[in-house]
């Protein structure tokens, strides 16, 4: 059935292959990109676009957590425990408010910086530096999770439970364990993937486009950038948790 048509096309005059239309800038570009009857994200690979869409969905997950926290805190009739005192740490006989949380924040920001450097070195094809920076990022991430484990044990020892605590509104514990627990899980998963990506960079997988373990797709150094997107997102979520849960 399809034969005649196929031969007609093959035998017919060569169809001129048009060069792709130049991309329009600004808002006309937005309309043109979405109306192009093709992929809308013209300069982002699917790999990157899908990571962004995953991060968007993850944004909604954490938004829901923070909104539930807001509703809990607004509607409770008991006083909300003072985070500044709850998370204070005794140093040289003095109580420093939020000390551990501040250190955790700096650790995570440092790891974001080393991650950005790793992406940069990856595109510069500096395998050694990229590997080391990824490993440093992973180490800082692991440090963060370790400090969080310390914080959890400290609070559990002081009697914080998801259903109550010694200082006030019972919802405090539930909110704390849910939000920091989910965030810590994200960091942990990030550390695991950082180690995987570091190994791939070190082995030179992205130079020879070796097939990956997960999707068996050929990788390139953009995978380091996409890994970076996830890692920076984890830092981004912490910015909001730090502001709303610990400082508010």
């Amino acid at each position: 059935m399809h034969e005649p048509a196929a031969t007609a096309v093959a035998a017919g005059p060569a169809v001129p292959v048009l060069p792709p239309a130049p991309l329009k800038p600004g808002h006309r570009g937005v309309a043109a990109d979405f109306a192009s009857d093709q992929r809308a994200f013209k300069t982002a690979t699917w790999h990157k676009a899908m990571m962004w869409i995953f991060l968007l969905s993850d944004t909604f997950v954490f938004s829901c957590f923070l909104i539930s926290y807001m509703t809990d805190r607004m509607s409770t009739v008991e006083p909300w425990p003072n985070a500044s005192e709850v998370f204070s740490l005794e140093l040289f006989g003095e109580n420093v408010p939020l000390l551990l949380i501040a250190i955790m924040t700096f650790v995570l920001i440092s790891s974001s910086g080393t991650m950005a450097m790793a992406v940069n070195c990856g595109y510069a094809r500096d395998r050694k530096k990229t590997t080391w920076l990824l490993l440093v990022t992973a180490a800082l991430g692991a440090t963060f999770v370790g400090m969080q484990a310390f914080e959890w044990s400290k609070l559990i020892a002081e009697g914080v439970r998801p259903w109550g605590n010694p200082w006030g509104a019972a919802q405090f514990g539930a909110v704390f364990f849910t939000i920091t627990g989910f965030h810590g899980t994200h960091v942990t998963i990030g550390v695991i993937f950082l180690l995987i990506v570091a190994r791939k960079v070190w082995r030179g997988d992205y130079d020879i486009a070796r097939r990956g373990f997960f999707t068996s797709r050929r990788g390139d150094y953009q995978q380091v950038e996409v890994m970076g997107l996830y890692w920076h997102f984890v830092d981004l979520v912490w910015v909001f948790i730090f502001a709303f849960f610990y400082l508010w």
Partner: protein, 128 residues
């Protein structure tokens, strides 16, 4: 960029990878440290009320903006991607508003319930 778009598959990413001067990252990194310190100081100096909340939100938004714009390369992406990713979270603000009203209402009913105590025992329970 147009040629890069025509290239298929895995090569595509490298054609327009996000490679920027390392200086930009270092500047942003520095400011993230400064902003984190400032937001920590808000707590340290025990600012209260609208000053506290205003500063917390200000530093938070500046930090988030820097991370998304530079570390996540949003300023260098095409607007179609930027809008597709950054507009939906804004709709979350509507959800925040709805739940704030709900939370307020719950607080109000709880307040009046606990102020009035449990329902008076004089009301006779229906006998079955």
């Amino acid at each position: 960029m147009a040629e890069a778009h025509a290239v298929a598959g895995g090569q595509q990413g490298q054609a327009h990878g996000q490679h920027h001067p390392i200086r930009v990252y270092l500047i942003v990194w520095f400011w993230l440290f400064v902003l984190s310190t400032l937001s920590y100081l808000v707590d340290y100096f025990q600012f209260e009320g609208y000053l506290r909340w205003g500063l917390i939100v200000l530093f938070m938004l500046l930090k988030a903006g820097l991370i998304v714009a530079v570390f996540m390369h949003m300023v260098w992406e095409r607007l179609a991607l930027v809008y597709a990713i950054l507009v939906p979270p804004l709709v979350v603000l509507v959800f925040v508003a709805i739940m704030a009203v709900e939370g307020d209402h719950t607080a109000l009913t709880r307040g009046s319930f606990f102020a009035g105590g449990p329902p008076a025992p004089t009301v006779e329970a229906p006998v079955h």
